[in-house]
């Protein structure tokens, strides 16, 4: 299998604060990569670099063989224009910790927004597809509701449907269940599990060890802006090699 997401030597600074200090990582097509690590270790920043919400200071990231944010001609990298970056993001779905649904649109309108505005499809064609996606995340009957009328778990499932509506090649999840009440976590993880089974390439930042062990194909443990340890989830969780991994796992397990 080929690498769908390829991260090579990525460094990222905010001012003088070096948040990512040389990250190398590969997620193969159809694989689910779970990223674990303490708060502040740079997990969100890494995900945001993958769809160029943050610009890397060094290194390169490519998705499906295409360099993100730059174009290589000869030995030079040319920065892409805003429109070209926007076009690259169509293929990369993202789900946020705080859902970030558009509050002035209904659930159905949230799902339709991308295909209508970005892909320029007709509302009629998109509507049927959006309804299907809401059905798929178990919210077929809530299409007319505004986000404020939905529970956190329902909002996050709409957010997943919204990202899927663009038919992305990869999906990025940034702690998708961290803002949820405990009894709502399961419904979101179920949707993600189904998505993984359907063959979607996923990169998931999470503290849900059970999900990582059961659904993940690989697990990456980050701390202080570097990958401390990675490997098959069961092995890393059962038998961590590094002190920092052990310390972290003992806290979350």
């Amino acid at each position: 299998m080929t690498a769908m997401i390829k991260i090579e030597g990525v460094h990222k600074r905010f001012g003088t604060n070096e948040v990512l200090r040389g990250i190398d990582l590969e997620v193969r097509t159809g694989e689910v990569c779970c990223v674990l690590g303490p708060s502040g270790s740079g997990k969100s920043t890494l995900l945001r670099c993958v769809n160029h919400l943050e610009k890397v200071n060094a290194g390169r990231i490519s998705v499906d063989g295409r360099l993100i944010g730059y174009q290589q001609r000869g030995s030079k990298l040319y920065e892409l224009r805003e429109k070209e970056i926007a076009a690259q993001r169509r293929d990369i779905g993202m789900v946020f910790q705080r859902f970030n649904l558009f509050p002035h649109f209904t659930a159905l309108e949230n799902v339709m927004e991308g295909p209508v505005q970005v892909l320029g499809k007709s509302r009629a064609a998109v509507k049927a597809r959006a309804q299907e996606l809401l059905d798929r995340v178990g919210l077929g009957d809530r299409g007319g509701a505004y986000p404020v009328q939905l529970s956190g778990g329902q909002q996050q499932r709409v957010a997943i449907a919204r990202a899927l509506a663009m038919e992305p090649k990869v999906m990025l999840f940034d702690e998708p269940t961290s803002a949820l009440d405990p009894e709502l976590v399961g419904e979101v993880l179920d949707v993600m599990r189904d998505l993984a089974r359907s063959g979607m390439t996923m990169m998931v930042v999470t503290h849900e060890i059970g999900f990582a062990r059961e659904v993940g194909d690989s697990l990456v443990f980050m701390d202080g802006g570097v990958v401390v340890e990675s490997g098959p989830p069961r092995e890393v969780i059962a038998n961590p090699q590094h002190e920092r991994t052990k310390a972290f796992l003992s806290k979350v397990l």
């Binding site: 769809n51 919400l53 805003e82 429109k83 926007a86 076009a87 690259q88 993001r89 169509r90 990369i92 779905g93 993202m94 946020f96 705080r98 970030n100 649904l101 558009f102 509050p103 002035h104 649109f105 209904t106 927004e113 991308g114 505005q117 970005v118 007319g144 505004y146 986000p147 404020v148 009328q149 957010a159 919204r162 990202a163 663009m166």
Partner: protein, 310 residues
């Protein structure tokens, strides 16, 4: 200390179990205020009804004369609409420029706001009306063409594409609209900027992640949500503009409500009733605007209130 407190604060006496009458907080001073206001209102009504200075029949005869109505429609109402339109359109553009990552655009926007907020509207109106004295004609073409001509030794070099006679274009009305509109734009720019900044950053990120461009994000996601913050102060601005159209007399523009009403007063030496007429006119118009604002605010609260369903 804590030992002195009752260790078992839960009421256990039999009275505590019985249903209780709830006595709401009393507000005796409210009734005093109501009484005082009632007396003052009665005094005012009595004054208005009996004092000959009010001269109601004269006021009613003159407040609806054709020149007054024309001034109301063509000066005050049309003026408010046009100046506010200029103000909102230019204001939104300036606000977007101000927030742009491009330092030239944001700098230009800052200077615009700085200049037009500093100037009193009366001064702007008189100044714009006087622009005709600066140039007899307003022409567009190659800038500094004469000077360039000297540089290359060409006498009387002119590279103008088109132009107008200043007096035909820059009428009192146009000058007044530009002055009021641009002044308003400076205030609207600040209002729109505050509105845009009130929208959660995550909204723009979620839209970016879908592949939307900056323009799409502004139009579809950010501005509609900013409306909730933008509309109330814009309503106030519109009401202020309605009143400020009375400054157009300095342009000088005579087709305007207040000018016409006071003209009647001065002509007939019966000034006071026409001032009252003006006050009532503005009170009525502002009230209509407030109703309009109420419905607009309700429309843009969709998705903010749990009860509102489309």
């Amino acid at each position: 200390m804590s030992k002195e407190l009752n260790p078992d604060p839960a009421p256990s006496s039999p009275e505590a179990q019985a249903p209780m009458t709830v006595v709401p907080v009393r507000h005796p001073w409210r009734w005093v205020a109501v009484a005082v206001l009632a007396v003052l209102t009665a005094q005012f009504v009595h004054l208005a009804a009996t004092n000959p200075a009010f001269d109601w029949p004269f006021m009613i005869d003159n407040a609806f004369r054709p020149p007054v109505i024309e001034g109301l429609l063509k000066g005050t109402l049309a003026g408010t609409v046009i100046a506010m339109t200029i103000g909102i359109v230019v204001g939104v553009i300036v606000a977007i420029m101000r927030l742009s990552p491009n330092p030239v655009l944001s700098g230009a926007a800052w200077v615009f706001t700085w200049v037009f907020r500093a100037m009193p509207r009366v001064v702007l109106i008189i100044l714009f009306a006087g622009l005709g004295t600066l140039w007899k004609r307003i022409e567009f073409g190659l800038p500094f063409d004469e000077q360039l001509g000297w540089l290359f030794g060409i006498e009387d070099f002119r590279a103008r594409l088109f132009g107008f006679d200043a007096h035909t274009v820059l009428t009192a009305f146009v000058a007044g609209m530009l002055a009021l509109g641009l002044s308003e734009a400076a205030y609207m720019a600040e209002i729109v900027r505050a509105g845009i900044q009130s929208v959660d950053e995550g909204q723009g990120e979620a839209a970016s992640a879908l592949g939307m461009t900056r323009g799409q994000i502004l139009r579809r996601i950010v501005l509609p949500q900013a409306m909730r913050v933008i509309i109330p102060p814009t309503g106030n601005e519109t009401i202020a503009m309605l009143k400020d159209t009375s400054l157009l007399a300095f342009a000088p523009l005579t087709v305007e409500l207040f000018y016409q009403l006071s003209a009647v007063g001065h002509r007939t030496f019966n000034v006071f009733p026409m001032l009252i007429a003006a006050a009532l006119y503005y009170l009525f118009l502002a009230s209509v605007l407030m109703v309009f604002q109420y419905f607009l605010e309700r429309k843009f609260s969709a998705g903010r209130v749990r009860g509102v369903q489309r």
